[in-house]
Symmetry: C2
DNA sequence: GTCTATAGGAAGATAGAC
DNA sequence: GTCTATCTTCCTATAGAC
């Protein structure tokens, strides 16, 4: 059990996520992680004996379950399809702060020792995201293959818009993506 | 003037580009850069007194002029539009090795001290790319705003497909992007 | 469970011989 | 223009007190 001024488990992972998301794996030094969590290096090692690699792994694990509970599952209600697509738009807007923040999946893919530790979780999350969108896309009678293709395209547009927004220093690409999302996913041109 | 066994200017920048593209800015240590170029640390500092930051800057500068000469300008011929779009597809396929390689713009955007040194060049290259595609898109009588939007979308899809291909460990997303590119850019649905 | 202190090594960068 | 050798700083990780 923690002492009085300890940081909570939730806030801890959240702070680590923020650092990995903003600086990437190699840029996330223990000094920064220590500063942002308010814990000393040694305290971080007590909580994560595996060091930085374990921290990133747990961040990814929490990200995965967070997305499942707060994005994928809420999209599975029996509310009208347009309502759920609007929910998707709002959630993505909040998740990436209107395009100001990068995606941790992209940032952790850039790890120099990428082969192995994160690849599996990242792949799983990408596929779960596509699957969730695919279910939305096919619920109005659209053929499965078509819905799947649209879902994959939306995921491409999402991450491409984030890359472009960061690269150009403008939130507009992400905003335009969000605006086009319903048409892209449901195929109403 | 160089000695006999020196690496050429072109190969030097090429080797540096490869490292930055594959490992990101923070992951590109001087040890790796030294190993991949065949030059010792001190030799690299003789050529780039500004250190790693100057190396990345020059890599971006060369990337920009390379793209201008080998991609943007060749698209400005008076050949049939479909022929030029096919050229674009081929060039992109080669540039990213069929989706196996990441984009250096995305990888250098992830630098921990991103503010400043690279932001400007990266932004310029993104805009030049969009502009080049926009010209292609509007040459068949399409409205300027529509062509611009399509060009931006193609750039999003390009980078999104690269992110997705790396994240899932499959070249298919990039391949599907290349296949859809002509329709996306010219709007023939 | 958190801390201070420190080990041990790799990072970026420089000096000076050739 | 390239090298070996070195400097300083920062890194990851551990030891041990509280």
């Amino acid at each position: 059990m923690g002492r009085r001024s300890s940081i909570g488990e939730g806030e801890l992972i959240e702070a680590l996520s923020r650092v990995f998301r903003d600086t990437g794996y190699d840029g996330a030094t223990l000094s920064i992680l220590s500063e942002e969590t308010g814990l000393q290096r040694a305290s971080l090692y007590h909580r994560f004996p595996g060091g930085k690699e374990q921290m990133a792994k747990e961040v990814l694990a929490v990200t995965e379950s967070w997305l499942t509970e707060n994005l994928f599952d809420p999209l599975k209600t029996d509310a009208p399809i347009d309502e759920r697509v609007q929910l998707l738009v709002q959630k993505l807007d909040a998740l990436y702060s209107g395009g100001k923040q990068a995606c941790i999946l992209n940032m952790l893919s850039s790890a120099s020792d990428y082969e192995g530790p994160f690849a599996c979780a990242i792949k799983r999350i990408f596929e779960a995201l596509i699957e969730a969108l695919s279910q939305l896309a096919t619920e109005q009678g659209t053929a499965k293959a078509v819905g799947q293709a649209r879902a994959e395209r939306v995921v491409m547009l999402l991450h491409g818009s984030l890359v472009l927004s960061r690269g150009t220093g403008s939130q507009k690409p992400f905003e335009r993506f969000l605006e086009a999302l319903p048409e892209e996913l449901l195929g109403r041109h």
